[in-house]
Symmetry: C2
Subunit: 505 residues, 2 copies
C-alpha cells in the first residue's frame, strides 16, 4: 500500500473471534455502559460513581525537565496535565494519549487493514499475560523461537502451556520449519491442540539478537494465514535497528542523522505492517525508548481482540499509572512525532555504537572469522580453536553466542561419564561460575530454553546441537572500557578451561 492510501479504502479485519478462549468469552460485559451514557446528560446528578473527590487529591502541579529530542544537552520544561490523570480512568487509557499512539502507529507501521485499535497497557510483560488470557486454553502449545524470553514463558508455564519452538537461522524463525511444525503437528503431538499463537520478538530478539528479514516476515505471515495462527509481536526493540557490523568502520561518536522518512525506510517493517487481515497483535512499549519505570505501552490489534482485552484490563489492572500517561503525553506533545522519531534515531545510533564496542572487544581477544557457509555468523577462535560463534546483531541489545565445547577439557571428560545426565549443561554451569569468579557476568543460555515439559530438559532431550551451549552478552549497560575488561577476563577463563596455554606451551 502507499502512504497516501486512506484507511477508508482498506479492508476490514477478518473475523478472528473463534480464537478467543473460553475464559475470555466468559467475561461478563461491563454493566456500566448505561450509566456512562446517561452521565453525559446535561444537569444530571450522578449519585452512581464511587469515585474519590478530586478536590482531595494532594497534587497540584507537576513540572518535568526533559531532554530535547535531538539537540544534546538541551532541555525542555513540561507542565503535566493532571486533570483526569489522577482519577480512575476507563481502562483503555487517556483518549488523547491513545490518539497520539494511533497517529504514531499510522505514521510508522501503516497497518494494511482499516479497523485496528489502540489500547494502553502497563508494559509488555503485562500485555503478554493479557494476550495469553485472551487466546490460550490451558495446555495449549505456544509457537516461539528456538530460544525465547524467560518472563513470557514464566507466565505461561503455571497455566499448563508449553512451548513449541521453531528452528531459526540468521534471518530469524524459519518459515519452512514453522510450516513443517504445523503440518506434522498431529503426528508429533498426538492429542494436543494445534498451536494457534505465535510469540515473536522479531527485532533484536531476546536472546538471539536476530532481526527477521523482510522476506522472512512475509513467509512467516503466509504460513500463519494458511494455518490460522495469531501472531503476537512483542517488539520493544523495533527502533533499535542498526546497519550490519563492519569491523573496518570505527564506531562513530557523532554520526550524521538522516531525515525521519529515511530513518523509517531504513527499518525492517513490523509484522503489523505486513498484516492485511488483523492477525497480528502488536505489543508496543515505551520501556526501551523512554524509560521502563513508566510501565506504559499499548496494544495494536483488531477491534474484536481489543474489546476483549479492555474487558480484561477493567478487572485486572485498570488504566496504567496516570502520572506515566500524563508525562508521556506531554513529552510527545512537546516533541511532536517528528521529534520523537529524531530521538529514536539518536537512540539507535547510541546502541549501535555499543554493539560495535562489544564486537570490537571480541576481536581484541579472539580471532573472528566468517562462518564457512554463506551464513552471517562470525566464529571467535583462540589458538585456532573455534570457541564460539554469533550473528552480529542488527537490532536490540544482545549478542547470542553458541559455545563449542568439543575441545573443552572438562567436557571431553564428562561426555563419556555415564553418571552425567547433561554434560553440556554441567560444563555450562561450571563455565558460568568461572566467568563470575573472574568478575564477568553473562546470562546462561539455559534461561532461554523453551519449556516443552519436564521430559525435555537436557541438551539431548531438547534436540539441541550436541557439544554446544549458549551464553547471552548484553551490550546495553556497560562502557567500552568495561566491555574490554570483561571480555579479557572471559578469554582468560576460556584459555584455562580449554587448557589452551598448555596446548601452546
Amino acid at each position: 500500500m502507499t502512504q497516501s492510501q486512506s484507511t477508508n479504502e482498506l479492508p476490514t479485519a477478518v473475523d478472528f473471534s473463534h480464537h478467543i478462549n473460553s475464559r475470555s468469552r466468559a467475561r461478563h460485559p461491563s454493566p456500566l455502559k448505561d450509566i456512562i451514557r446517561f452521565m453525559a446528560v446535561e444537569d444530571m446528578v450522578s449519585l452512581a460513581g464511587g469515585l474519590p473527590h478530586p478536590s482531595f487529591f494532594p497534587f497540584h502541579t507537576v513540572t518535568v525537565t526533559a531532554s530535547a529530542p535531538t539537540a544534546e544537552n538541551s532541555l525542555c520544561s513540561l507542565e503535566l496535565p493532571l486533570e483526569g490523570f489522577l482519577q480512575y480512568g476507563s481502562g483503555s487509557g487517556n483518549a488523547e494519549l491513545r490518539a497520539w499512539c494511533r497517529e504514531f502507529t499510522q505514521r510508522v507501521h501503516r497497518p494494511a487493514y482499516a479497523d485496528w485499535e489502540v489500547l494502553l497497557h502497563p508494559g509488555n510483560t503485562n500485555a503478554w499475560g493479557k494476550v495469553v488470557g485472551l487466546l490460550c486454553e490451558p495446555d495449549d502449545y505456544i509457537l516461539c523461537e528456538s530460544y525465547t524470553y524467560p518472563s513470557a514463558q514464566a507466565f505461561w508455564i503455571p497455566l499448563g502451556n508449553k512451548a513449541a519452538p521453531v528452528p531459526s537461522d540468521a534471518e530469524g524463525m524459519r518459515a519452512d520449519a514453522l510450516a513443517q511444525t504445523l503440518r506434522e503437528w498431529d503426528d508429533s503431538h498426538p492429542g494436543a491442540r494445534q498451536p494457534r499463537v505465535l510469540y515473536l520478538v522479531s527485532v533484536g530478539s531476546n536472546p538471539s539478537g536476530v532481526t527477521m528479514s523482510t522476506k522472512r516476515r512475509q513467509d512467516i505471515y503466509d504460513v500463519c494465514v494458511e494455518h490460522d495462527v495469531i501472531i503476537v509481536e512483542d517488539d520493544p526493540y523495533f527502533f533499535l535497528q542498526y546497519p550490519e557490523y563492519n569491523a573496518s568502520q570505527v564506531a562513530m561518536d557523532d554520526p550524521e542523522l538522516v531525515g525521519n522518512d529515511e530513518f523509517l525506510r531504513s527499518l525492517t517493517p513490523s509484522m503489523l505492517q505486513i498484516d492485511h487481515q488483523g492477525r497480528v497483535i502488536r505489543l508496543e512499549s515505551f520501556s526501551k525508548t523512554l524509560a521502563p519505570g513508566l510501565r506504559l505501552g499499548y496494544f495494536v490489534a483488531n477491534s474484536v481482540f481489543t474489546e476483549r482485552l479492555l474487558r480484561a484490563t477493567e478487572v485486572e489492572t485498570q488504566d496504567p499509572s496516570g502520572l506515566s500517561q500524563a508525562l508521556t503525553l506531554r513529552l510527545m506533545q512537546s516533541w511532536g512525532i517528528g521529534g520523537y522519531l529524531g530521538w529514536l534515531q539518536g537512540l539507535s545510533v547510541e546502541y549501535r555504537c555499543r554493539r560495535d564496542w562489544m564486537i570490537d572487544a571480541f576481536s581484541q581477544h579472539f580471532r573472528l572469522e566468517n562462518a564457512a557457509e554463506d551464513s552471517r555468523a562470525l566464529v571467535a577462535h583462540l589458538s585456532d580453536i573455534p570457541i564460539f560463534s554469533f550473528v552480529p546483531p542488527t537490532g536490540g541489545m544482545f549478542i547470542w553466542a553458541c559455545f563449542y565445547l568439543s575441545q573443552n577439557s572438562a567436557f571431553k571428560q564428562l561426555r563419556h561419564d555415564e553418571n552425567v545426565v547433561d554434560p553440556e549443561q554441567t560444563v555450562a554451569d561450571q563455565l558460568w561460575r568461572q566467568f563470575a569468579e573472574a568478575k564477568v557476568l553473562l546470562t546462561p543460555g539455559s534461561y532461554y530454553h523453551p519449556w516443552e515439559g519436564p521430559d525435555k530438559i537436557t541438551t539431548h532431550a531438547r534436540g539441541a546441537t550436541p557439544s554446544t551451549t549458549n551464553f547471552r552478552f548484553s551490550f546495553s549497560m556497560t562502557t567500552k572500557e568495561e566491555m574490554e575488561r570483561g571480555i579479557a577476563r572471559m578469554a582468560r577463563v576460556i584459555r584455562a578451561s580449554w587448557k589452551l596455554d598448555q596446548l601452546v606451551g
Copy 2:
C-alpha cells in the same frame, strides 16, 4: 498486645502453604538470584542484565507542588528522586517505599505476628487478581458479603469461581451465618470444595456501606481459624471512618481535629490487627487517600504468601509505575507518618460531612424513622408508606438502600403476572430508568448480586427478600446542592411510581 511489645516477642506465622494453589506452586523460581548475588561483587563487569542505559532516559527532574498535610491552602514543593525509579525494578517495589509502608503498617495495625511482609502492587484491583491466582483453584467458591464488589467478581467469574454469599446485618457479615455456611457446606454444595477464601471489604463496604464492629471481627476471625479460611481484607476506606450519624448535629465546616493517637484509637481495628496467625492478606491502596491515578498500593501478608505473590508480580506486572512510587515516597518523606495521619483525619472529616449532607437530604424529602427492632437502620417514608431503609454508614462513600416494593403500583401488577420471571428486578430496572430520565443516577443493586451461577439470578432463586430491591447512593462526588436536587428528583419519581399523589389526593 501493647504497642510497646516488640516484634521479636511475637509468634511467627502459622504455615499456610497448603493454601497455595497448583498454579502458584507451579511457578518456577526466578533464575536470576545467582546473577543478582554476584552483581554486588566489587569490580564486577556485568554483561548479563538486559536493561536500557539510564543515560538515555529523557527525564531529568520532576518537581511537584503538593498540599501540606493539614494546613489548608498551604503547599509544599517536592523534588522527586528519579534514580532507580526510571529503570526496571525487582518486582517488589522500591525498598525505601516498602520500608515506609512497613513502618506505617506497624504504627496503624500493629500486626500480632512477627514475620509479615510488605509487597507493592499497582492497585487493589490487580492485587485481588493476584490473590485469586495465589489461592483459588478453578471452580472454587469464594466467601463474600451478601452484596459484593462487582470488579472483584468480574475477575473470578471467567475462572469458573462462584460466590458463596454470607448474610449480613448492621454490624457486617454475620459470624453465625459464616459458621453455618461452612458447617453445612458439604450438604448444601455436594461435590464442591469447601471455600478457603473470604473476600471482605470490612470498612464502609462497597456497596453496603457497613463497617464491621470490633466484636464481629473477632468472631469472624475465630470462625475462619476453626475452618481454616484465609481472609482477604480489601480495605481502601479504612481511614474514612466516621462517628454515627446524628440528625440533630449539623455537619461541621471546620471541626476540631484530635491528635493522631486519638484518631487511630477511634478507628475500628483492621482484620490484620486481630490476626495472630498470618491468616489475613491485607490489600492496602493509596487510591482513596491520595489519588487513584497513582495505581499504587501494597500487600501485607505472611512471608510464604508474599514470596509467591512476588513470583507472580515478576511475570504479570513487574514494579508499579516508578513515577507513582517516587511521588508517594517523597510525599510521605515530606509529610512524615504524623503528617499523613493528619491528612487522613482531614479526609475522614470531609467525607463524613458529605455523608451527613446526603442523609440530611433524605430527611428533607422523606420522613426518617428508626426501624422497629434494635437495628441501626433508618426507614424513609413518604405519605406514611415505608419506601426504603438504610443503615447510616460510619465509613466509606456509600449508602445502600433497600427499597420496599410491595406498595409500588407497577410491582403490585407484575407480581401476579406469570410471564414475569423476576418482578422485583423488572420494577428495579423501570425505576432506575425513571430516575435517570428525571436526571438522578443511582447504581442498580443488581450490580452487586453475588454470582452463584446462571441458575441463581432471579430474586427468588437468589433467596433475596421478596418484594425488595436495592440501590446504591454514593456521597463522594456531589455538592450539597446537587445531592438535595438529586434526592428531590428521586422523591418525585417515587411519588409517581407508587402513585402516592393519587393516594393522598
